[in-house]
Amino acid sequence: MTLRSFFAAWNKFFFEPQSPVPISVFRIVYSLLVVATLILLRPDWLAWYGPHAWVSRSTMHTLEPGTRLNLFAVIPQTDSWINAFFWISLGSATLLAIGFLTRFNSVLVYLCLASMQQRNLSILHGGDTFLRVAGFFLIFAPAGAALSVDRLIRVRRGKETAEIRPRSPWAQRMIQFELAMVYFATFCIKVRGAPWLQGTAMYYIYHLDEFRRFPVPAWLLGPTMLKLEGWAALVLEFSLGVLIWVKELRYILLALGVVFHLSLEYSLNIPMFQWDILSGYILFVDPADARRAWSWVRQHLPANNYNPETTTP
């Protein structure tokens, strides 16, 4: 590869205009995941973030010093203000889902999410982290360019045509990069642990009482199967981190990733984590492929009268 072809590939990857539909669909799913996260936190909201929370602001600052983007540091520490913060976060995430004042709400949702996580770092899982980092890059994306109230308003005012204009996808690429990095970093850290290499890791995981959700079939718990499951997880995490960028392998890996996360969702109790990560898969789907797949589904559905000759795409 020459330097010239490298720059050409870089520009194509980050700047060649793409349909903004994937990032808009991601925006909707992302916002709904934030809403779900907030709703699940609601019963213990003041216990985690209130003036008499499990961990005080000063203790958290002692444990995690440094200047941080944290709205809790500037709002009065009363139950009313902390509750107001919840409703503002929920309202903003809902508005982001429908795509109203998209840019403003993407910034506000990020600020709220980052503040919550900075205020109490001791209750976070990887899904929260992914939402936070993806939220940062979502701020820069044309997330309201499709499937949004903002766009409807622009079309109604004659500022946009009915055709959705392609946009530079560099912010979307950064979220894709982040997702790939999640898998690759996980793989790199796991291969440093003897249980993963020896194949005993899954034995420990399946026998952690606090994580157990639905019963796992007995044949999956034999020593040989446990080894294979652990090694398969390593191979898949490496592949989703590195080989996901190879177009020919992408959909196979995404399908395997979906099966992997759904099986974890079934067997392990880590609410929202699998869905948070799976949301990022949307960004790897080419809209043209999605259209072709939809067309194929409509053609092959029983009892349909779809005719590609007469139906306008």
């Binding site: 720059f7 520009n11 194509k12 980050f14 700047f15 060649e16 205009p17 699940l40 936190l41 019963p43 213990d44 008499h52 929370a53 499990w54 961990v55 203790t59 002692t62 444990l63 995690e64 440094g66 200047t67 941080r68 983007l69 980052a114 996580q117 001791s122 209750i123 990887g126 982290t129 980092v133 940062f136 946009r167 560099w170 990069f177 982040e178 990095m181 999640v182 690759f184 970093a185 996980t186 850290i189 796991k190 440093r192 003897a194 249980p195 993963w196 005993t200 034995y203 420990y204 995981i205 026998h207 009482d209 606090e210 994580f211 959700r213 718990l221 020593p223 109790n269 880590i270 609410p271």
Partner: protein
């Protein structure tokens, strides 16, 4: 695809009806390169001095902006013990009771969705580096269990664990539970007001 026009003040990509000003194009590229390198240095477990220096340099920005991240769930080794934390509460009249953080294995499926944060919290508070949290936690346990007529005098946080021991045939036999005192706290009147 067209090559970016370096001599022009505008950058136009093939198929685009929009152009990026040269300044914007350079700024976005700087943003991309910085964040790709910084996130890679931050996330990957490499011990090279250059990577460590990079991590130190970007640390203030990552902490401030919220881009800090770690991907070490179940790794490098999964937890090898079942654990939970509870508190022995001693009242002023000498009576005792036990208070426990919600334990996922004792909750319904729906409750687990809402209370899962307590699983993570109980796991976090047992780490040595989080010792400063223990006084806050003891104070809140005291507040939750105290009444003016029946005030709490002492809270003792206790960590319980039972090792998970792999067996050659893949079977699982629970090991006996062990415990040790995480923290003892003498409650002051202002703690429970």
């Amino acid at each position: 695809m067209e090559k970016p026009k370096t001599s022009d003040s505008l950058i136009r990509m093939k198929g685009s009806r929009t152009t990026l000003s040269r300044t914007k194009y350079v700024a976005i590229n700087a943003f991309l390169i910085f964040h790709i390198l910084a996130i890679s240095c931050w996330c990957l477990p490499l011990d090279s001095p250059l990577i460590l220096l990079c991590k130190q340099t970007i640390r203030p920005y990552f902490l401030w902006s919220g881009l800090f991240q770690s991907w070490d769930m179940f790794s490098p080794s999964p937890k090898a013990a079942n654990t939970y934390v509870d508190a022995t509460i001693i009242y002023k009249d000498g009576s005792r009771t036990t208070w426990a953080f919600p334990r996922m294995e004792q909750l319904s499926l729906t409750q687990r969705y809402f209370k899962e944060r307590y699983r993570k919290f109980a796991e976090t508070l047992t780490l040595d580096e989080n010792d400063p949290m223990l006084a806050d936690i003891a104070r809140r346990v005291a507040r939750l269990n105290s009444t003016p007529a029946h005030p709490v005098k002492t809270v003792i946080l206790i960590y319980h664990w039972s090792f998970i021991v792999p067996r050659p045939d893949g079977s699982y036999v629970p090991e006996p539970w062990n415990q040790h005192v995480l923290y003892g706290y003498g409650v002051r009147p202002e703690d429970i007001q």
